[in-house]
């Protein structure tokens, strides 16, 4: 049967493969979380399904290529440039497209799909067709009892954890975060209480864009880059935020890790094709049992 191993292994080999698959799955899961966080924030506050999220992720990755590789900026300065530009882009897009269409679901979908296609098409023209590559900042492998973990993935995962913590702090420990949650609960009431919903929404959009761009920046040395790279990211992100519960940061984290582990361990045991199906089967089961997602509100 295709999908099973060609030859049976001793149990210790299976255990090693599962341990290695689990480790890689967790690291990949954190990358998924990093990419999906901005999407869930924008949906949670603005109730916008931002199809252009993948392209912002792509722009962040390309930003690293051009600032760090082409213009030789220090990496810290590269991150600052990407952060500032993505914040500005988020503010601009919110003001130009999303604000006037708030509450009109279909029009917003069309607008964000259009934005996605425009950015991707311009990307092919501006960045060319050749894959771009960013040299690894951290090379080498860390081994834990036979389980090998690439250093650059460990660093990216650590950054992901820090960004999740910062987002939590922003949403649950600041006044702005309180305003965001108020708008998420009931925008009309929030407005009556004096919250400037437009400004808070613009900020949420900017932060969401910045998270996507930073995710792209940290993923850039791990993968190769091209203007179409956002597509895979957006598909995976949608899967994760739907299963996690739309708008739930904790749900996004759980779903991201779950998808990463299922893909990896499932891939190791059953083969990549079967693992792909396994992810969707588990996700369907989750949604049947909890239609609002793992931690979503009914």
């Amino acid at each position: 049967m295709k999908g099973a191993f060609e030859a049976p292994f001793p149990m210790d080999v299976y255990l090693h493969l599962i341990a290695q698959g689990l480790a890689i799955g967790l690291l990949t899961g954190v990358l998924y979380v990093l990419i999906a966080l901005g999407l869930t924030l924008i949906y949670g506050i603005l109730h916008i399904v931002n199809f252009a999220h993948g392209e912002i992720y792509m722009l962040g990755a390309m930003g690293v290529f051009y600032c760090y590789v082409v213009f030789k900026l220090p990496f810290a300065a590269t991150l600052v440039v990407i952060l500032l530009l993505s914040l500005l882009l988020g503010l601009g897009v919110e003001r130009a497209f999303f604000r006037s269409l708030r509450g009109q679901w279909l029009q917003l979908v069309v607008a964000s799909v259009g934005l996605s296609l425009i950015i991707q098409s311009l990307g092919w023209i501006a960045f060319g067709i050749q894959e771009k590559n960013v040299p690894s900042f951290f090379t080498g492998v860390v081994a834990f009892g036979g389980v090998r973990l690439p250093t650059e993935r460990l660093i990216a995962a650590a950054v992901g954890v820090v960004l999740v913590a910062l987002l939590y702090a922003l949403v649950y420990r600041t006044k702005v975060g309180l305003a965001m949650r108020a708008i998420e609960e009931d925008e009309e009431t929030a407005r009556m209480l004096g919250i400037d919903a437009d400004r808070v929404a613009a900020l949420a959009c900017a932060v969401g864009f910045a998270l996507a761009a930073l995710a792209g920046a940290f993923v850039a040395p791990i993968y190769s880059l091209n203007p179409g790279m956002g597509l895979e990211a957006i598909l995976m992100s949608f899967l994760i935020i739907i299963v996690g519960g739309l708008g739930s940061i904790t749900g996004t984290v759980l779903a991201g890790l779950l998808v990463g582990v299922l893909q990896s361990v499932g891939g190791v045991l059953l083969g990549a094709e079967a693992a792909y199906g396994l992810v969707f089967i588990v996700m369907i089961v989750v949604l049947v049992v909890r239609p609002a997602g793992l931690l979503g509100k009914a």
């Binding site: 050749q130 040299p135 690894s136 090998r148 895979e232 990896s264 083969g271």
Partner: protein
């Protein structure tokens, strides 16, 4: 002021649309680039488009049946998807009256072959795989790149023997090309069974994938000496090499059909990219034309030439030569004339058509096929004898 302006507009309009046909210098000979120019396989398609554009510049004006023509490139984006390719060829043939074109993808060909057979569309198939496309039922389908069968039959055994590889595995795209290539390499490895060489596993990934960890873990557990990564583009192979080395694999990679970029592999994979062996890669330019095209492409498009450029350029020039000699655009007559012709000015060197024994029809391009190995970020010639493909 209003009247003189109006008169000027009318005059200009008349000048643009009102001139009789004979005043125009030449008619258009449309060649379709029915290829992906967006999505993950866009690099393949843009290479074809640009190969045709450069060929159009060099062909200039030519005469067929007493009329002057100029090659016009018409691009139809297929996104490398079968349904969109069907739509594209329908639009090309029935709306735009395009009878010739380059179509990329082994996976997109099955649903369009009936249209090609019905209309006599002359297809320059830029697709690896094998008999599915090239067979007597498809006399107007010419494969302008080396087929997987051709590459495996001429090189696989020799490479395995040269490297002393005993355990061979396959990791390729989950499509027609990947599945066909795995089948082809299994058949070749079977020939070496008596020498202790075995095929130890095959794994597949979705095109555009960037994480190969699980598939690689399964393959590496089988302790392969060589992992064949055919059908994978540069970016995928570089990531496969990088991730495989991270997981402890120290063997060789062999890639047959894709044209890989050494710098890109080194940039992505660093030292992990060493010992990738690739067919269809010229460590040293084979012809003066090859060098000139590389320089022209760099100047015109601001980047290195994509791997699909050369064969497209060569095929387009060969086609126009044949049409001029046959003095007709009838695709069936041109197909017959083309199959019986040779072409000395291909960027890879002298080319002809073969494949009669393997496919039952001479529609497979036969031309020099090089082998190279990546060392210190550069392709070096990989000295291995090649077999004959008939």
């Amino acid at each position: 002021m209003r009247h003189p302006t109006l008169a000027l507009v009318v005059l200009v309009a008349l000048a643009v649309v009102g001139l009789p046909d004979g005043v125009h210098a030449q008619k258009s000979f449309k060649v379709g680039a029915i290829v992906p120019v967006s999505g993950p396989a866009a690099a393949f398609g843009l290479g074809v488009q640009r190969g045709l554009e450069l060929a159009a510049e060099d062909v200039g004006v030519f005469t067929v049946a007493g009329e002057k023509y100029k090659l016009e490139v018409v691009t139809y984006d297929t996104v490398y998807a079968p349904d969109k390719t069907v739509a594209a060829i329908n639009r090309a043939v029935y709306n735009d009256n395009v009878k010739y074109g380059v179509i990329i993808g082994a996976g997109v060909h099955p649903p369009i072959l009936p249209i090609i057979r019905e209309t006599g569309f002359l297809d320059f198939a830029f697709a690896a795989a094998g008999r599915q496309i090239t067979n007597p039922d498809n006399p107007t389908a010419f494969r302008i790149m080396a087929s997987s069968d051709q590459l495996y039959q001429t090189y696989a055994v020799a490479i395995a023997e040269k490297l002393g590889g005993k355990r061979i595995a396959f990791l390729g795209p989950n499509d027609e090309l990947g599945k066909n290539d795995a089948k082809a390499i299994k058949a070749e490895v079977e020939k070496l069974k008596a020498k202790g060489v075995s095929f130890v596993g095959d794994e597949y990934y979705e095109r555009g994938a960037r994480d190969f960890g699980p598939a690689l873990l399964r393959l590496i557990a089988q302790k392969p000496d060589i992992i064949d990564t055919d059908g994978s583009p540069t970016g995928s192979i570089a990531l496969i090499a990088k991730q495989a080395r991270e997981l402890g694999y120290n063997g060789y990679f062999v890639n047959s059909t894709a044209v890989l970029e050494a710098k890109a592999i080194s940039d992505i994979a660093g030292k992990a990219g060493e010992n990738i062996i690739a067919l269809r890669i010229w460590a040293n330019p084979p012809t003066k034309l090859y060098t000139e095209l590389a320089e022209r492409h760099q100047k015109k498009y601001g980047e290195a030439a994509p791997g699909t450029l050369w064969e497209t350029y060569g095929a387009a020039r060969w086609l126009v030569d044949t049409i001029v000699k046959a003095d007709t655009f009838d695709t069936k007559k041109v197909a017959d004339a083309l199959a019986g012709s040779t072409y000395a000015a291909h960027p890879f060197g002298a080319a002809s058509w073969g494949g009669e024994k393997a496919y039952g029809i001479k529609r497979q391009i036969i031309m020099p096929i090089p082998a190279a190995i990546l060392k210190n970020g550069k392709w070096e010639p990989f000295d291995v004898r090649s077999g004959k493909f008939e």
